[in-house]
């Protein structure tokens, strides 16, 4: 099967409400590894993720996948910052993407049970999804994203507002997926998380890629004053 990546974004701009949220932005995403998208609030991290996933359209510029764009989204999964859960059981939520894809119910249920076990939700299969704790909800969202075995997993602040234990559990699941060869693109405010998970860092500032580099090098010696200031915890405007 032809690989989904690389993705080439050229001069892409996203505008809403009369102002530019992103761009003009150029970025190439190659296969393999984990990229952490970091930057101050309003830098355009979420907008870039949504642009890549096709949830927003560029006003100008282009996105070119290695496969026809009509097939691109089906080979990605997106985990939202605030999990969007169906008003159904945990098991039904996890198996939902497979049911949409036409997988028969017994097969979907079987795979959903297996992945629920992998993320530690086996004890809650019949529970309403909305009854879970915040950490469990995010694990459910992650399980649902992983069940289709996507080539590209996009995560938008998946551990924001979670306690340390939930954060560690989610990172463990992610590391397992990464070890399995899954390409991961994660937006995070948590620099520790970026260091733990990422191979490379994309620093966004004012809607543009301000700096990009190998993770260890970036955190050790950022090349731009803005990135250095951000890592120091200075307020960037």
């Amino acid at each position: 099967m032809v690989s989904l990546l690389p993705l080439k974004i050229e001069n892409a701009t996203v505008r809403a409400g009369g102002r530019t949220l992103l761009g003009p932005l150029n970025l190439t995403l190659d296969g393999g590894g984990t990229s952490a998208l970091i930057g101050p609030n309003g830098a355009g991290k979420t907008t870039l993720l949504r642009l890549i996933h096709g949830l927003v359209r560029p006003r100008d510029g282009s996105l070119a996948w290695h496969v026809p764009v009509a097939h691109a989204r089906a080979r990605q999964s997106f985990v939202f910052q605030h999990p969007i859960l169906l008003r159904r059981s945990v098991l039904a939520n996890i198996g939902f993407p497979l049911r949409l894809a036409g997988v028969r119910r017994p097969d979907a249920t079987g795979r959903a049970k297996k992945i629920a076990a992998d993320v530690g939700l086996s004890d809650h299969l019949a529970a309403p999804a909305m009854a879970l704790s915040a950490g469990e909800k995010q694990k459910l969202a992650l399980a649902r994203a992983l069940i289709t075995e996507p080539e590209l997993l996009i995560l938008d602040e998946p551990t924001a507002n979670l306690d340390g234990r939930s954060k560690r559990e989610i990172e463990t699941i992610l590391k397992k997926a990464i070890a399995g060869g899954m390409r991961v693109l994660i937006a995070t405010h948590d620099m520790g998380q970026a260091e733990r998970l990422a191979d490379e860092v994309v620093f966004l500032f004012h809607g543009k890629v301000h700096e990009r580099g190998e993770a260890a090098g970036f955190f050790a010696s950022p090349q731009t004053p803005a990135a250095a200031a951000f890592l120091r915890g200075d307020i960037l405007e």
Binding site: L55, S77, F80, I84, L86, R88, L100, P128, M130, A131
Partner: protein, 244 residues
Amino acid sequence: MGSHPYADVFVSEIWQGAVSAFWLVVTLDSDLLEITLRSLQVTLTAVLIASLIGMPLGAFLAVRRFRRRRATVAILNALMGLPPVVVGLVVYLLLSRAGPFGVFNLLFTPTAMVVAQVVIVTPLIASISHQAIRELWAQYHDLLISLNATLIQRTATLLFDARRALLTAALAGFGRAIGEVGAVMIVGGNIDHATRVLTTAIALETSKGNFALALGLGYVLIALAVAVSLAAHLLSRTERSGTW
């Protein structure tokens, strides 16, 4: 100081109505049973058909973007206030011998009453469904787009997950239909043993000055409406804790 004589008469009528209702139910009065069952049959059929039309329509209007969608929703909301008597008149004209559907000989049959009630209730069910599904669509939008759900899959997902709210829509439709008298009187004709239902029987007994019996039938009608609503909630377990 004694009470007002009219108040005594009023209380007396209410009491006699309760007694009448009690005896009608206890003795399983055959006429009462017949018109109650007909009321239920006509109304439940109408609500079922109206739900099959109104709920997907509400979902479609919530999910699909098209020109004049807002105008369509506004018209739908306005149609909730359709005067039943006017609906009855229009359906009468359509089903009368000279009308376009006269060939089917449906006038003064329960089917004609169902048709009138469907026209009255569909906008109500569609509008409430639209409101509920629109809110759910706002929550689910990104997820369903992300998962490449087709229009039919989106609609089906929203209808399924909004089922509690849709039950409320159906019950609102049932409440409106079971208590409706103007349209069913016109297209049904209130014919004994044919098209008489609880509401038209109440109207008839009231016109005859038989207030106690009319009130008795009214109590039965209220009990029926409450019983159906409770049964629907119990069956769907809407009030069970911890579930959606």
